[in-house]
Symmetry: D2
């Protein structure tokens, strides 16, 4: 019991991409030791596509704020995963995940376990290709080792932040994608295939031979987002482990489409939530995070009805998909401070995506 760790999760509102004031207050109040931060996942209010500078701006502000306590090497060890796009009522916020030595009276596990890994940089020609798949799998395994999670089936969420190609890199030739927006999808897709390989969901040979973005292979636990502000991949793994203690639990569901909320309701019930329609406030307060992926079905229809997301030249399909799935999930949870991320290539089936839930089971454990 001496070496048990306990995960902490804080959800903090952001008044703008550069607002790290909530995080600073947590540290100043003594509620969080900055040296123990494993990852910061943020929803920032850009377009979530190529020219979304809200992500880089947020990372820059976080590094400046934490720079009061941490040196550059320590900052580099924190996975900062900013996902752009707060469509609909989605609220800009960050989720700060930390790992501390479990206090003696911590609730016994199994409990939420955290691990991370930053991979080497990808060359432009590797993005969206087998080299990225292999590197992502390697990164997930390293993050599992960091978390002390050995069993792939106890991993419920693997977040991978991936790079995309710039117009200049594409113009230089040899890349898998001919435009920047397309490269975001290929990069997310390759990383998701890598997650599936590492978690035993996808056969390695199948993944390596797959047409990225088109093959019907998927992971139920991968969540990948792309941003201009990095060259390598940042992996964060969340699972359940008997080596971790405390009240936090995690489970996941797969949504077959953006309105497929019954699996999410089932996961909430497995975690211990009791509710009829929408979660009542006391249950909503236990839900520390909802991490979901959304996308427009390539089939052109949802439940047999045509959608227009892929034919809309004014608004990117990812933005439509995030807004819609956010509404579906918010209707279950009772608010929209949700981490709904777009572009779910090989993350859940076509048109759908994984959804993970962090839940505080305090007191319920003893029931």
């Amino acid at each position: 019991m001496l070496l048990r760790r306990e995960a902490q999760a804080f959800r903090l509102p952001m008044a703008g991409p550069d607002d790290a004031s909530g995080l600073v207050a947590l540290v100043e109040d003594g509620a969080l030791d900055p040296a123990l931060i494993v990852a910061i996942l943020g929803k920032t209010e850009g377009n979530g596509c190529v020219n979304d500078f809200s992500r880089g701006y947020a990372v820059s502000a976080l590094r400046a704020a934490l720079g009061r306590w941490l040196d550059a090497a320590a900052l580099d060890r924190i996975a900062m995963v900013m996902s752009g796009g707060t469509e609909g009522a989605l609220s800009p916020h960050m989720l700060v995940l930390a790992a501390r030595p479990a206090p003696p009276n911590a609730a016994p596990g199994p409990a939420l376990a955290l691990g991370r890994c930053v991979t080497r940089d990808l060359a432009p020609y590797e993005i969206g290709r087998p080299a990225q798949i292999a590197l992502a799998a390697e990164g997930v395994r390293a993050a599992m080792a960091d978390a002390g999670v050995d069993e792939p089936e106890t991993v419920h969420f693997a977040q991978v932040k991936v790079p995309l190609l710039s117009a200049a890199q594409i113009a230089a030739g040899g890349t898998a994608a001919a435009d920047t927006l397309k490269s975001m999808g290929l990069s997310r897709g390759a990383a998701a295939l890598g997650v599936g390989v590492a978690l035993g969901e996808i056969d390695e040979a199948d993944a390596m031979a797959a047409a990225v973005g088109a093959a019907p292979l998927w992971s139920a636990r991968a969540s990948c987002s792309a941003g201009v502000e990095l060259k390598g991949m940042e992996v964060v793994v969340l699972g359940m482990s008997p080596a971790w203690a405390g009240p936090l639990r995690i489970d996941h569901a797969v949504m077959a489409d953006g309105l497929d909320t019954d699996p999410v309701r089932a996961a909430l019930r497995r975690l211990g939530a009791r509710f009829d329609g929408q979660l009542p406030p006391h249950e909503a307060a236990r839900v520390r995070a909802v991490l979901a992926k959304a996308e427009a079905p390539r089939s052109g229809a949802v439940r047999g009805w045509r959608h227009t997301m892929l034919d809309d030249s004014d608004i990117s399909a990812t933005r439509h998909a995030r807004a819609f799935a956010a509404g579906a999930l918010a209707a279950q949870i009772g608010h929209a401070a949700l981490f709904v991320s777009g572009g779910a290539e090989h993350q859940g089936p076509d048109g759908g995506g994984p959804c993970a839930i962090l839940y505080d089971a305090s007191d319920k454990d003893s029931q």
Copy 2:
């Protein structure tokens, strides 16, 4: 019993704004007598804002298609209410409402009742001002008379299509709004106040003195949308009446915000639906239409969490709000062929809006 009428409701997919093929097929198959059509409500796939030509294009196509059977005067009597914007998975479709003599074996009422009215044209200076409020109230009363509904409390939905100001009209001076997008909101708001007056929800003197768009007055049953393609207002009233027969029922709820779906679930249960999470397919099949209004709260927050809809200069707030509320409602119903319309000024509270449901209670009546 000789004079009983029966309402018919058909929900038809549209492959594009100019697709009237479903309607033509209904007529050719003998399922619908075009002379009995009261109203056609369409969700078309434009931006739902000023330069949304999908609405006018749809009306043009509908008139051309129905022109095979109806003359211009008969076409003019059909309220054609096109609401632009199929954000998220919202599916372009039309809802065709007709009133036929009830067959002798029709289920006894009270049942869905339909009425309509087209008002005189509004002068540019009247839009968004008391003259429009009064005219809308007059139009609702005329539509109620047309439906044979005397009691305001048995009206569950009053759809008003309103004109907006063009840049040229604004440049000419004397108008209530200084830009076209703003004029859409004022025009919707004034019409909603008029509905509230006619339905006994808002005191007439209060409405006339109200700052349109700002005053905390609202109707629980108004649904107003704006379009460039008309100069007057088209009113359609849906209620329950003992003078009507058949299996169709209507009820309504007020959503306090875009994710407030529990009142909708309660309305579904009042109509006879039985379900736990999402409607099962056999119940979803009974829901003939969902007619809802969505908007971004002016307060800047939803359930205490900041939203970014009103600060987004790339996507209009109405588009964000429709996508989000559509997700919330689709998660209840099981598909996204929903009539979710944006801009809910004085239609439900700030940030929220009314939601009406048409339900086929066949067989359930005798239970």
Copy 3:
């Protein structure tokens, strides 16, 4: 001299996509015989991309308006080429081109000559591939024959309206493009290669072997635009011919990029215009049409300075490029009722495009 024809060109403002009132007035005033219309080129105010319904709406309105005088077969013979997108100050307008028997006193030629052709429908799998290149070349040759123009070098402009793929067609598989927007570029590019082949600018074998959209092959006189509202290709050829009479002349330039206006100024001078900076009003009045193509350079830079058009996920690059080139050209001509069309794949060099000018040389001829 008995068989000489004379081209007519009318530029008419449009108050909306469905505004054919200017055309109707021309006919009613006796200035135009509708049976002699060869082509109508329109700039309509949609986004010019996939979900631009302003094009189809305009065609629908034109057919309805001309239907007073022409039967369906006659309507089908008129090439109706609507190009969406009136960015910047570009003004929605149509250019009506007609061919009448030259009056005895018509100025002698060579003068503007017109020809047209509508090809067979393309199958989805042909779009963007050699079959489309060959069909476009065939269409140009047919249009030249229709114009009575034998020499490819006397053709100054070949407008081709091309189809694009729908999301449903792409989902069905076997197509050259994986998304609808991409299919617009491939379809335009294949048609432009076909024009180049027909006009002797591009070697046929090179064109057939070319990577459409990437190969450094281009026509100086092709102008291709895509729209959902057709399945085949509509070709209009404009040239100079001694068999035609009257005051109208045409010449063309190639802009190396969106601000390369000196070649346009040189073409204006070749046509007879006299000016220092911007055209003075009496010269601007002689310019009956400016037909130009604009696009964002794939290189990522214009004159060595980085541009952001291809990295912008809020506004399509075609919209940026049209607005910018429109400004450059309007600064030469003196107004913005210009036919600037986006997407210039194989139409002029990367980042640039052809620009043709119709000029009324009345009186100047005798100088």
Copy 4:
């Protein structure tokens, strides 16, 4: 002659909003003393409207980069004016203006003179109202004093960066604007009226009584842009002064609309440029900066032809106007690294705006 100053102007490309590498290189190479920087004007690649974080991100990066040499107080003295929006081929870049003691051999004046001022913060209720007009006038006078320019007629450009209202401030009530985008225009307009007062172009009493945004009063030399990242106003004044030396000159023109480039050509010629169509490269190299304002005419037309900028709900009118005017100006200058800023309320006439040019007259002076 001992106290003569010399202005320096550097135009530096930016690879992204956070790219200060060009500036750092200038300092490291010894070409620029950071302590002498007066102002940095940047064109950044956001939408230029409310949620444009590229401006704040750029300021943050500039402060971090210059923080190697300057303390916070010295950084605060540099006016950092970021204008968002690089539509069309506009290139993200910054213009660094510095004032150094003139070297003994500097060309004699009059030459470009620089001055600056940062005003106190504005309260939300002051924005767009007389208090802001008066404060802007005061700021211009202070900046003139800082530049040593006494005569208002020798001021050719007064750049004012102004704050805007947030949705939260508007929700709190008492503000002049009801939405954030509208507040940008009112804030720019009030500042421009203040410039006009200070420069003797507008009568003070008229300005104070004017309906901001509507009154037909304007300055020929004001350039105002709005951003979320400041609360006060930053004023930079550029003029010609005999107390300054060196080869840099400034002059200005007023464009009556976005394509009115002949006045700009005349200003270039007054500055000494020789050219026929577009500036030849050796003349373009002398143009150190073009600072222009663009906007959509409220009249709804440009040179009698309808424009669609104000009816477009997909793209803000400011973005259309910038792209178009940028094309017009780039066609004169020969590239698009131009500081074209949107929203020209009371800056030039309705639909038009001022345009100032910095020109290096080296060698020409002695002619």
